[in-house]
């Protein structure tokens, strides 16, 4: 092991080698990894070949990669997140397959170390690169439109955030080829994640991919909060905002106060590993428990960062598809406020068993139960909105109903886990795994999938195929129950999480096989979604959204045409109450001739991509201890920022005349 040698030589060795720890030995091999590498390579080559064949490189660069239009950034976020979802699901499938066969004398097809890397990668990918990516994607797509704004507060920063996210994704996937990933679990608890016990570069890959993406998320948090506070159209007071905007506001406040803690904590772990400090080490006066506290002081708010916008999506679509105003608007707002606050005072329930004492555990247990109250308010208000509504059972509505069922199961088991005495029994068991998947799949994933279906026509101008969407929903719903209900039972029977082998006499194999079948049903659901996308694109002519309002919506995003023009609204809307678009549609005010004004919009720029590119190099250098590259990359980042700040030519004007021309051209096209 060359790593062990590096380790012995310690800090001095950093200067020894031009490529740091990087060498040919670092290339990963093995049959399963080779499969992943080949698919990565084929995917990349296929994309390059396709783009070249279709001569789309210039288009890709000008229209997408350098774009600062939040709608395009949103689409790119979602594409990256869905690709990562596929990788995360493949990881999940491998884990369940291993558990279904690795009984008694059989050891399955994965060795222990590889299995550990897979579950670490699965968790990290699903939270940081799938859930966060889908969330920021949807916020980018919808938030400015809902607020009646033309853009986010800081468009360039928005593009930078996105590319930092991509840089994180890049580093994470690079570990498939070079050096391997962390084998520590998705939160990399020390002392296991310290150099002494994880001498390879896996943990460093984990740290830097998440650090870079996390800084992007933090910047996005600032960006969207300022957008909500400062960019609402005339007449839209805070209490008239759509519920999705409120939920994003709660979520972004959480990002702003929670992500800096993550940044600091990851930096401290990196300092321990790179410079031999003693924050979380087992010796030298380090305190591993401090890490657990810090990481969950970020980690628990993170759960609500993800779920709040999903709640917001459900609130929007349940009102639309029930054709009723959302029940209990102000109680919903207060519920979001309460969740935002309470999510900071429950973090310790993640480690009741670590000996904080009865009183401390009791406080956090009670707080955890309290937070289920505002969460319940949100669920009930959704159901009350349906009561006596004219309900249409479209695919997004199916996701909502599925959410009500799965999220309630998860909520009930969550309240069980909030009791410290119960938690001591099922801590770190599959019961816990089943619980949080109930919340994350049944809440977050269902919510974002519903959101994508709901807002798809606004971005692309045509609806997704309903029938295939429903098939996908049923596969996800049934697959989910099959995959996770057995885990509750197994958890109570004593099966721990992260288990790669167990004794045949325990009699667990049957339930593990059921869980594995469940994963396959979910994969079938994803298959239907891919098919849905293809079929919808092919048959888009028959699903065109010509009105801009395909669902008879209530909020401002439906008042502009589909696909929304790059300037969002030709004339900025003026709002006089809740459900702004609904009242515009139903008011008898005569349509006046629109008065166009000049619009100032940001120019496209690749600078955000360059900054993230240098950040990627910095992360790479930090992982492999390439001493000359790290400062160089840092200079690159600073240089890009300075060049950008010196540039005057960052905006352009769409004149009123040009705008009028674009609008008439569209109207003519509509008429024809």
């Amino acid at each position: 092991m060359n790593f062990a040698l590096d380790n012995l030589l310690g800090f001095g060795n950093l200067f020894g080698n031009l490529l740091g720890k990087l060498s040919f030995d670092a290339i990963q091999h093995g049959p399963v990894i080779a499969g992943a590498q080949v698919s990565l390579l084929l995917g990349a080559m296929g994309t390059v070949a396709l783009l070249t064949y279709l001569k789309r490189w210039k288009w890709l660069w000008n229209e997408w990669l350098t774009s600062v239009d939040p709608k395009k950034i949103g689409v790119m976020y979602i594409i990256v997140a869905l690709l990562m979802l596929v990788r995360g699901v493949v990881d999940a499938g491998m884990m369940r397959a291993q558990q279904a066969v690795s009984v008694g004398s059989s050891n399955g097809f994965l060795d222990a170390d590889h299995y550990q890397q897979i579950f670490t990668a699965h968790g990290s990918i699903m939270i940081f690169f799938v859930a966060m990516g889908l969330m920021f994607g949807l916020i980018n797509l919808v938030l400015p439109l809902q607020l009646g704004a033309r853009d986010v507060a800081f468009p360039f920063l928005n593009s930078t955030s996105f590319w930092l996210f991509v840089a994180g994704v890049g580093l994470m996937n690079m570990s498939l080829v070079l050096g391997g990933f962390a084998a520590t679990g998705w939160l990399a608890y020390p002392p296991l994640s310290e150099l002494q016990y994880s001498p390879g570069v896996g943990v460093d890959f984990w740290i830097w991919s998440i650090q870079i993406a996390g800084i992007g998320s933090l910047l996005s948090g600032i960006n969207f909060l300022v957008t909500i506070i400062k960019m609402r159209c005339k007449g839209m007071t805070l209490m008239r905002m759509p519920m999705f905007a409120w939920s994003v506001m709660g979520s972004m406040v959480l990002v702003i106060f929670a992500f800096p803690i993550l940044t600091a904590t990851l930096a401290l772990l990196a300092l321990d590993r790179t410079f031999g400090m003693h924050f979380f080490t087992a010796t030298g006066g380090g305190n591993p428990m401090m890490y657990i506290n810090l990481i969950w002081a970020w980690g628990h708010p993170e759960v609500y960062i993800l779920i709040l916008p999903a709640f917001g999506i459900f609130s929007e679509l349940v009102a639309t598809f029930s054709r009723k105003r959302l029940f209990g608007y102000s109680s919903m707002v207060w519920a979001i406020g309460a969740i935002t606050f309470l999510s900071y005072v429950v973090w310790l329930h993640h480690f009741f068993t670590m000996g904080a004492g009865g009183n401390v555990n009791a406080f956090f247990g009670v707080m955890t139960m309290v937070i289920s109250v505002p969460t319940g308010v949100k669920g009930f208000n959704g159901l009350f909105t349906m009561y006596r509504g004219r309900i249409r059972f479209t695919t997004p509505m199916m996701w909502f109903l599925g959410f009500v069922v799965t999220f309630t199961i998860g909520g009930v088991t969550g309240v069980m886990l909030a009791v410290p005495a119960i938690d001591f029994q099922v801590h770190n068991s599959l019961f816990l795994v089943a619980h949080f998947h109930n919340m994350i799949i049944g809440g977050v994933v269902y919510g974002y999938l519903a959101g994508i279906t709901y807002w798809f026509p606004k971005i692309f101008g045509f609806k997704l195929n309903e029938r295939l969407g429903r098939y996908a929903f049923w596969c996800w719903f049934i697959g989910f129950l099959l995959a996770f209900i057995p885990l509750y039972i197994l958890g109570i029977m004593g099966a721990t999480r992260r288990l790669d082998h167990y004794d045949a006499s325990l009699g667990w194999q049957g339930l593990f096989i059921v869980a594995g079948v469940g994963v396959m049903v979910i994969i079938a659901g994803i298959g239907f979604q891919v098919l849905q996308l293809i079929v919808s694109i092919v048959q888009r002519k028959s699903n065109l959204d010509t009105t801009g309002d395909p669902w008879n919506g209530r909020t401002l995003e439906w008042s502009t045409r589909s696909p929304a023009p790059f300037y969002n609204f030709a004339v900025l809307p003026v709002v006089s109450g809740h459900d702004a678009f609904w009242s515009i549609k139903h008011s008898r005010a005569k349509e006046t001739k629109p008065e166009y004004q000049d619009i100032v919009l940001p120019r496209n720029t690749p600078m955000g991509m360059f900054i993230a590119g240098f950040a990627f190099l910095f992360g790479f250098a930090a992982i492999w201890h390439i001493v000359w590259l790290a400062p160089l990359a840092l200079v690159g980042v600073i240089g890009c920022i300075v060049i950008r700040s010196a540039s005057d030519n960052t905006e352009y004007t769409v004149t009123a005349a040009k705008l009028a021309k674009l609008e008439t051209a569209y109207a003519k096209e509509q008429a024809a």
């Binding site: 600091a264 006066g285 401090m290």
Partner: protein
């Protein structure tokens, strides 16, 4: 964008104003996130303050008079930064550059003193690898120093921009943010002085 001739003067101005308030509000929010980073590091320091692992603790290592000099220099730099901003609001470009020049030099002086302290400690074998306490000390104080360095770099870039463009809207906006940043670091330093050095000395 106020340069675009087609735009009526009034809207152009109000838009510019709007941009300003947006950016400065955003910068305040950023400062709050940075505050949380420092809060995490302070908490870490508080936990590890006594984790000296049998090695020297704060009152054996720190020299209060030395740190007092550092503190006074940084406080003075905040004062000169304030004078520069007053000059900026009077549109007195020469004074702005002069006072920010003084602020810059004081910042450099502060940073050199800090680095002197650090190298002194490291040479006596009390580097960050020695104990949890020293790791926390170097990280907390060093992160502040890193921010000061960033502020100094920012000052250079901004002064060059002012020399080139004058005190226009964009440079004024950035000056406002830089001075916010500088005062913020001053406040953080007051906490470092109190919690790390004063409490450490007793």
């Amino acid at each position: 964008m106020s340069n675009t001739a087609v735009q009526p003067v009034e809207t152009a101005q109000s838009m510019e104003h709007d941009n300003d308030s947006k950016t400065i509000f955003g910068f305040w929010v950023y400062l709050m996130t940075d505050c949380v980073v420092f809060a995490s590091l302070f908490a870490t320091f508080a936990v590890l303050r006594t984790s000296t692992f049998g090695d020297p603790s704060g009152n054996e290592l720190f020299s209060l008079p030395f740190v007092l000099v550092e503190t006074l220099i940084l406080l003075t730099s905040s004062f000169t930064c304030g004078l520069a901003m007053l000059a900026a609001h009077r549109k007195d470009q020469a004074k702005v550059i002069a006072w920010f020049g003084v602020t810059f030099l004081l910042g450099i002086a502060f940073l050199s003193l800090e680095l002197t302290e650090f190298s002194h400690l490291a040479h006596e074998g009390n580097s960050w690898t020695r104990s949890g306490f020293l790791s926390a000390f170097f990280t907390l104080v060093g992160t502040h120093g890193l921010h000061i360095t960033t502020g100094l770099l920012w000052m250079i870039v901004l002064l060059v921009q002012i020399a080139k463009r004058g005190l226009v809207t964009s440079t004024m906006r950035r000056l406002t943010m830089l001075s916010l940043f500088w005062h913020f670091l001053d406040i953080i330093w007051i906490f470092i002085f109190t919690i790390v050095y004063l409490v450490g000395a007793v």
